[in-house]
């Protein structure tokens, strides 16, 4: 992913975000190129979710700018709905629509947000679900599914309209260990298609495998960015070293 024609798909410039008195992000600078996957790692509370929510305009930033395909999206004059239609966000807790079936969860955005024809969208949605190993579960309600299946439905829902970039927020951290693999497999599958991704994760082995670059977030600041070998094997900052050591001790590296 070395060649970089055109502007980056996502770009952060001096992004700052506070909740009241609490400054959660301080001057974030980061770029995600086309077809690139950048993994954001960092302790709980370091601001990973907030960073992703700011991109999807679910939170309003206080300073700086975020660009999507070279266009600023954090300007007050920009329609947030139009921006969100070009992005796919997956939540840690899945947040599937409980009153809808699996298929309807995937179709809702395709039809209501993207104005697709239901009959045309349905085969696409079914094919995507089958590809993520959910064939046969289309008419079930989400609460009948395992956590791993629910998260795969959430991936399908976010990916259904072929977003310019996927934003994945710790998609495996609410799952029992034996279910992690199937969700990571689904992400890998989308990754193989070259989907641009910005993902927060706790799974270091996965980050190493799927990400082109890793970005270490500490108390709202990016302390280190680089290829996985560099950040994970030879971290420069003591904070990164401490974080990785602690993960290792907890058996999650």
């Amino acid at each position: 992913m070395a060649a970089r024609p055109g502007p980056p798909v996502l770009e952060f410039r001096g992004v700052t975000k506070a909740f009241g008195e609490l400054e959660v992000l301080h001057g974030i600078d980061l770029e995600v190129a086309e077809h690139e996957a950048v993994a954001v790692i960092g302790a709980s509370g370091s601001g990973k979710s907030t960073l992703l929510r700011c991109v999807d305009l679910l939170e309003e930033i206080d300073d700086g700018d975020i660009f999507l395909d070279g266009e600023v999206i954090t300007d007050p004059s920009v329609d947030p709905v139009a921006v969100r239609r070009r992005l796919g966000l997956v939540f840690q807790a899945y947040n599937l629509f409980g009153h809808l079936t699996v298929l309807q969860n995937v179709l809702l955005g395709m039809v209501k947000a993207h104005g697709g024809d239901r009959d045309e969208a349905e085969p696409t949605a079914r094919a995507l679900l089958a590809r993520l190993g959910l064939g046969g579960r289309e008419d079930d309600h989400p609460d009948l599914l395992s956590g791993g299946q629910q998260q795969r439905v959430a991936l399908a829902r976010a990916f259904a309209a072929r977003p310019r970039a996927m934003l994945l927020d710790e998609v495996t951290s609410a799952l029992d260990p034996e279910l992690v693999g199937e969700v990571l497999g689904a992400v890998r599958d989308l990754r193989d298609e070259g989907v641009t991704m910005l993902l927060a994760t706790h799974e270091m082995s996965f980050a190493r495998e799927v990400a082109d670059r890793i970005c270490f977030l500490h108390e709202g600041r990016i302390l280190e960015v680089g290829p996985p070998e560099q950040v994970l094997e030879h971290p420069r900052r003591p904070e990164t070293q401490r974080f990785l050591r602690r993960l290792l001790e907890a058996g999650r590296a």
């Binding site: 679910l58 939540f91 009153h99 809702l108 209501k112 947000a113």
Partner: protein, 287 residues
């Protein structure tokens, strides 16, 4: 030397244990039913005995439970009750719509709706705080007294409006609680797939909220069904309670009131059972 036990034996033993347990469970259930039946008989019998032996019983029997008076008055009251049912149905629909509109106005935070939001807050505070009976009086007698052109003056219409305003305030709060009970993550997810705020409300939040408030709404309907009788106090002719009251006054026998009470119960008890069943059925699956 001990021969290994054939596996067939083990299966037989297991089957026996299973049958034994099932029999024990059945015996326990039978014992429970027997105790329940006995205690019901004893307590019920004691109550009946107490009433039948009370000094005033013969008089109560004649003035409240006269079979003859009942037979005479029941057809008229039943006919009158049909008006109650119609008022109930119309007011019910109006309440559902008004309550939802008020709840939505208070939930959506579009700046343009600010004056409406204030109005909605004042409305709920006011109309929830005034006893329904007082509201029926105020509107039933107050509105005609204004003598304004175009305002309805018919007691039944005014009574219906008073009931709608009163119950609309309660029901809007029920809806609002339902809307608030839908997790924030549902709105986030709806926006994230590219829906507008309004679409998120319509396709994601509202359907889940309405599902959750079914039982409390039904509870309010039961209350409304019997409060329809309140319109009798502003002189709605042909309302069941009113008719019963007139009949009771005319020959100093209160049996017609019992007849009316039975008609209200004939609607409210099935509704209450329906509510029980609904809550049992949906209680576990609210997500």
């Amino acid at each position: 030397m001990i021969a290994p036990r054939p596996p067939l034996d083990a299966a037989v033993v297991v089957a026996d244990r299973r049958a034994e347990r099932a029999a024990a469970r059945r015996a326990k259930a039978r014992r429970g039913q027997l105790i329940a039946a006995t205690s019901t008989l004893v307590i019920g019998g004691a109550l009946v005995a107490l009433i039948l032996t009370s000094p005033g019983w013969p008089e109560v029997r004649d003035t409240f439970l006269s079979v003859e008076v009942f037979r005479e008055s029941f057809p008229d009251i039943l006919r009158a009750f049909w008006l109650d049912v119609r008022v109930f149905l119309i007011v019910e629909v109006a309440v559902l719509i008004l309550g939802l509109l008020v709840a939505l106005t208070r939930t959506v935070d579009a700046p343009a709706l600010f004056p409406l939001r204030i109005l909605a807050v004042v409305y709920t505070d006011l109309f929830r705080g005034i006893p329904t009976i007082l509201l029926v009086y105020l509107i039933g007698f107050g509105v005609p007294a204004l003598a304004l052109e175009g305002l309805p003056t018919e007691p039944v219409v005014l009574g219906g409006i008073a009931l709608t305003l009163s119950y609309g305030a309660y029901v809007s709060e029920v809806y609002r609680a339902g809307l608030r009970s839908v997790h924030r993550g549902q709105r986030d997810a709806a926006l994230a797939i590219g829906l507008t705020e309004r679409q998120a409300l319509r396709h994601v939040i509202l359907p889940q909220a309405v599902r959750r408030v079914g039982p409390p709404l039904l509870n309010d309907f039961i209350a409304l069904q019997k409060d329809v009788a309140l319109i009798a106090i502003i002189g709605v002719a042909g309302e069941a309670f009113r008719v019963a009251q007139i009949q009771a006054a005319s020959d100093f026998n209160y049996t017609p009131l019992i007849a009316a009470a039975m008609l209200y119960l004939a609607i409210t008890i099935p509704l209450a059972r329906l509510l029980d069943r609904w809550e049992r059925g949906h209680g576990g699956r609210t997500r």
